[in-house]
């Protein structure tokens, strides 16, 4: 299979999956609600019949389900994601304001997860069976079993009582003017414009939330990396290296380099977990991202918003999967010829 065919094939799979996501979310949510009108409008439907009529018309609620689905897809493709009444603006607009904050948080946290996970994996493989190995193992089991809000609350407690060096709420203080949108990701924009005050302030506010995400998830990487290194350490190329007198630390480095393939496959699942944990972390740290928006939307029965955000999450996860597939094929050429 040549690289282009491989690329196109994976792209088609990704698009089919996204189509499936719209089908599942749409049918599930519509089959469950016996009266879609109440689901869309809440109790106000019975109070204001005129509003109800307008909604029936806009969302074609009297049409059969397959037609409603057709209108929904048609709207999605024309950038009409519905109106979010919990925000009082179109869903697409609300998402485009909140998503950049979530993206910068998730990327920063992926960075922390990789650093912590790789360090943990190498150390616990290099010194396997030691106290250090066991400590790391205990830490990641506890981290993995912790609800995201637990880690976030502990961090807030520690950093506001004992170690008041980092802010524990918001994305930036009121006084700081945000950079002009270029990439629309505030942290990146501040860097591009060389606005150091804004950059350092944005970064400082993002550290604790993203650390809260990573402390729960680094074990996903550590665990796989450790077992992969320990498996490779008994393979022939390592035995040959040892026979040539290569130092033990260097031997482990060789094994680590060959284990990176295993870490790449974890990308998609880590992004998935991070997005879920991010919902809680954003709410606790009052971080103005999609996570906070979706909770606010769900609690006020803002149906179009929740459907749209579900799709946004799916797009991010499918993209991460797609990137992981490509990276995997680059690192390990055998995949392309399967």
């Amino acid at each position: 299979m040549n690289p282009l065919t491989f690329f196109l094939r994976r792209l088609v799979t990704a698009l089919v999956t996204l189509f499936g996501v719209t089908l599942i979310t749409f049918t599930l949510t519509h089959l469950i609600s016996s009266n879609p009108l109440v689901a869309w409008l809440g109790k106000s439907a019975s109070i204001d019949p005129q509003l109800a009529q307008i909604y029936i018309k806009i969302y074609h609620l009297k049409s059969p389900l397959y037609l409603q689905y057709f209108y929904y897809i048609d709207g999605l493709l024309h950038a009409d994601w519905g109106f979010s009444f919990s925000k009082g603006e179109p869903v697409a607009q609300a998402v485009s304001q909140t998503l950049p904050y979530t993206i910068q948080l998730v990327i920063l946290s992926l960075l922390f997860t990789i650093i912590l996970g790789v360090a943990g994996g190498i150390l616990s493989a290099r010194f396997h069976g030691s106290i250090l190995d066991k400590t790391i193992r205990t830490l990641y089991i506890l981290g993995y079993a912790s609800p995201a809000f637990f880690i976030a609350l502990v961090l807030i407690l520690v950093f506001s009582l004992f170690l008041p060096v980092l802010p524990t709420g918001g994305a930036a203080p009121v006084g700081v003017t945000l950079p002009k949108p270029i990439t629309h990701i505030p942290l990146l924009d501040a860097l591009i414009e060389g606005d150091w005050t804004a950059f350092s302030s944005l970064l400082r506010h993002a550290i604790l939330p993203s650390l809260a995400l990573s402390l729960g998830l680094f074990g996903v990487v550590t665990r796989v990396l450790r077992s992969s290194i320990l498996e490779l350490i008994n393979s022939n190329f390592i035995r040959a290296a040892r026979a040539r007198g290569v130092s033990e630390n260097k031997v482990y480095f060789y094994a680590f380099k060959n284990s990176l393939v295993a870490v790449i496959t974890l990308l998609a699942i880590t992004v998935n977990f991070t997005l879920v944990a991010d919902i809680f972390v954003e709410n606790i740290f009052a971080y103005p991202g999609v996570g906070q928006y979706v909770v606010q939307a769900a609690l006020s029965l803002d149906y179009p918003a929740v459907l749209a955000i579900t799709l946004v999450y799916a797009i991010i996860i499918v993209t991460a999967n797609f990137i992981a597939d490509l990276l995997y094929a680059v690192v390990d050429p055998r995949i392309r010829y399967e």
Binding site: V21, I141, F150, L161, F280, V306
Partner: protein, 286 residues
């Protein structure tokens, strides 16, 4: 004594190492507490969890109130015990449902193959692209807050990994001689799927399910934290954390203890599952 054999091997499995021992103790404590509380109701608790001012408001953990008291002087210990059955019911139901439905679907798809298999793979792929918590949130939002609604919402989205796991095993088993001979002796398709494909996969599925119950507990308490499980004043672990997190500086125990309980229960299931997997592998390796 033949009838003691399964019990004996079960005992060997849970006393395999420190991990399984700790994990099993936590799980047993959680399950027993939930059952006793579900049968006994609020009467068996030291204080009625809904009754206000049974102690001084915001008193820290003490002998009288092991987990302290809340803003309205409710006893946190009683509230946490009272909330246990919800988590147990939801997690065991969701995993049990996924286990049987997902497992059978996967076994059938792997055995039959063709269109059925392809269809199942595409459906599961799609479910893997949506975080369960988000979809659960969307469904629970429509149904309204209740542990039963969450149980239903999670059950219909939780089965795909079970289907995938069973399917990959089924593909391997479908080509085994014992399946071929079963087919030749005229045993019907559904019976082969059940007896010769699903049953041999049970031990693999059980290990996964044990690990998975902890994940359901985490997801359920997350949804409960967001206010989708119970309405006040009824106690539920995740919701307790959300209710008292604003006092994190003034009275940290109020939110940290319920959150810690969730962590311990989730860790218990993952220790037990990991340990059992190790024990089974060691047994097979011998």
């Amino acid at each position: 004594m033949k009838m003691w054999q399964p019990l004996k091997s079960f005992w060997r499995l849970i006393t395999y190492n420190l991990e399984t021992k700790v994990g099993f103790s936590i799980v047993a404590l959680f399950v027993l507490t939930s059952i006793i509380e579900a049968i006994g109701g609020y009467r068996i608790l030291p204080y009625n969890p809904l009754k206000t001012f049974v102690g001084k408001p915001f008193s820290p953990p003490s002998v009288l109130h092991p987990f302290g008291t809340t803003k309205l002087g409710r006893d946190l210990f009683s509230m946490i015990i009272a909330g246990a059955p919800n988590d147990a019911l939801v997690s065991f139901f969701v995993v049990g449902f996924s286990f049987s439905v997902g497992g059978l679907l996967g076994a059938a798809a792997g055995y039959v193959g063709g269109i059925l298999d392809e269809l199942l793979m595409r459906i599961t792929d799609t479910f893997f692209a949506i975080p369960a918590l988000i979809l659960g949130m969307a469904i629970a939002m429509i149904l309204g807050p209740s542990p039963y609604h969450l149980m239903f919402a999670l059950a219909i989205i939780w089965w795909p990994p079970y289907a995938r796991l069973t399917r990959s095993e089924a593909l391997r088993l479908a080509n085994m001689p014992f399946v071929a001979s079963a087919k030749l002796s005229g045993i019907s398709g559904p019976r082969i799927v059940l007896r010769h494909i699903f049953v041999p996969v049970l031990s693999t599925l059980l290990v996964y399910a044990t690990l998975d119950i902890g994940t359901v507990v985490l997801t359920y308490s997350g949804l409960s934290y967001l206010g989708l499980a119970v309405r006040p004043p009824y106690p539920d672990w995740g919701y307790l954390v959300a209710q008292y997190q604003e006092y994190i500086i003034y009275a940290p125990w109020l939110s940290l203890i319920p959150a810690g309980v969730i962590m311990v229960v989730a860790a218990g299931f993952s220790l037990l599952g990991d340990g059992i997997r190790g024990a089974i592998q060691a047994e097979r390796g011998r």
